[in-house]
Structures are given as structure tokens and as C-alpha cells.
Subunit: 139 residues, 2 copies
């Protein structure tokens, strides 16, 4: 038990880096990165989201959202639609292209998490997931 490895906070930091790397290498061939993937999967569960909603929910800076949605739009995976009740904001929606991309990579994404959590059995994975969720739901 030596050095920083004994520290849970530091462990989280290191494993977060590794997890991000794994996701990015798996996404590499598609030309997207983890951040794009996060946006797509959020949209898949919400049927349209304002950019500021994406920023708040995913934790990315508003200025970062602009670039991400630009990229996705160029690939035809999302569309910006004017918000009916507020002309300042735009609603980002998934296109059919985006939806079918998600279906195609769904299983590959699960494989990434599987690799990462390989040493844990199903019950332990549930435990870990529950603990992490509790931490994540903090202000």
C-alpha cells in the first residue's frame, strides 16, 4: 500500500483517465470521440435537448457543446432546430443516421466497459455502479 494508490480520490482520477482512453480508441474508427458519443447517447434518451441542457447534464462547457454539435451535424447525425418558445435557444435532435450509428456501436460500447471491469463479477459491478452513482449525484 504505497504512494498515492492508497488514495481513493487519486484512484478515481487514474481510472477515469484509463476509461476515457478505452472509449476513445474504440470510437477512433468512427471519427468521433467520447464527448460526441456522450452527446449522442444523451439525445437518444431525451428526444431533443437544448444546448444549455446538454452543457448542464454532461458537464461540458457551453462553448464546447457548440463544437461538438457542429461536428455531429457535419456527419449528419444531429440537427439544430429552432426552439418554438424561445428564439435564443436551439433544440438538438438525433437524425436517423445518428440513431443507426448508435445501434451499430451499442454492443462495442458495452464491450469497453466489460474490459474495464473484467476483474469484477456481476454482483460487484452492480455494487460499484451504485456507489459511483451516489458520488456522482452530489452537488
Amino acid at each position: 500500500m504505497r504512494g498515492l494508490h492508497a488514495d481513493t480520490g487519486y484512484l478515481l482520477y487514474r481510472l477515469g483517465l484509463r476509461s476515457g482512453q478505452l472509449f476513445n480508441t474504440f470510437l477512433q474508427e468512427s471519427g468521433l470521440r467520447l464527448r460526441h458519443y456522450a452527446v449522442l447517447r444523451y439525445l437518444a434518451g431525451s428526444e431533443g435537448a437544448l444546448q444549455r441542457e446538454l452543457s448542464a447534464q454532461l458537464g461540458y462547457d457551453p462553448s464546447a457543446i457548440v463544437g461538438l454539435v457542429d461536428d455531429l451535424e457535419k456527419l449528419g447525425m444531429t440537427e439544430r432546430r429552432p426552439s418554438p418558445d424561445d428564439r435564443r435557444s436551439k433544440t438538438v435532435v438525433l437524425t436517423d443516421t445518428g440513431r443507426s450509428f448508435l445501434r451499430g456501436t451499442d454492443e462495442a460500447g458495452r464491450r469497453v466497459t466489460n474490459d474495464l471491469l473484467a476483474p469484477l463479477d456481476p454482483a460487484e459491478r452492480d455494487t460499484l455502479q451504485a456507489l459511483l452513482l451516489r458520488i456522482a449525484d452530489q452537488p
Copy 2:
């Protein structure tokens, strides 16, 4: 249970970012960053380490180690000593200044992890720590 938040791999990624941020803000006043702190704490437990050992153990690129050790040296917290058996490598050791800095920040570091894990009771923290260690010890 919507979007990527249901995915343990993604949760790890997000919490890793948050953990790193917390560490960095706590270290801000000292002029160091998390990476420097990691080097210091590794050295505290090893009584001298080759730079390539730091690179391998902490997971930073060898070229990143150079800059980190440069910074620490400028602050008088570490020293580079020629390795007796191999003139290619250098041994990095903690100075008294570095050691006393670690003592001073020891408790502040624990507070960071405490904040992060606030929603968990001691037994749950142990569980989390054990699970993360098992994942971290993967090849």
C-alpha cells in the same frame, strides 16, 4: 436511468475528471498540480526512484516526467542524483523541503477525498476502494 450515466465506464470517466479538479484546486495555492503531488507521494514511499520508474508506475509519459521533476527541482523539493550503476539514468530523491511540504498537505489531501466521498459511510468507502484497486491492478 438515462443516457450514458447508466454506464459504469462513463461514470468512472466523469468522476475521474471531478476528482482531478478537486485535487488541483486544493494544490493551487502551492503552485503545484496533481501530477507533481503524485510524484512527491510516490517518492515518499520509495526513497529514490529512476525517472523511468516514475513514468511506469504513475502512468505519465517519460517526457512529462522531465518537466515535472524540473518543476519540483526548481522548488527545491527533489534532487536528481546520478545513478551509481547506470550513467544513463538518474535517481530522483525527496529533499527535506519536499518531505515537510508533504507533511503540511497530508491532511488537506485527505479532506479532498473526504469531500468527494461524502455520501458514503466508512464501510462503503472501503468497499469502493477495494473494487477500484482490483480494476486498477489489471494489465
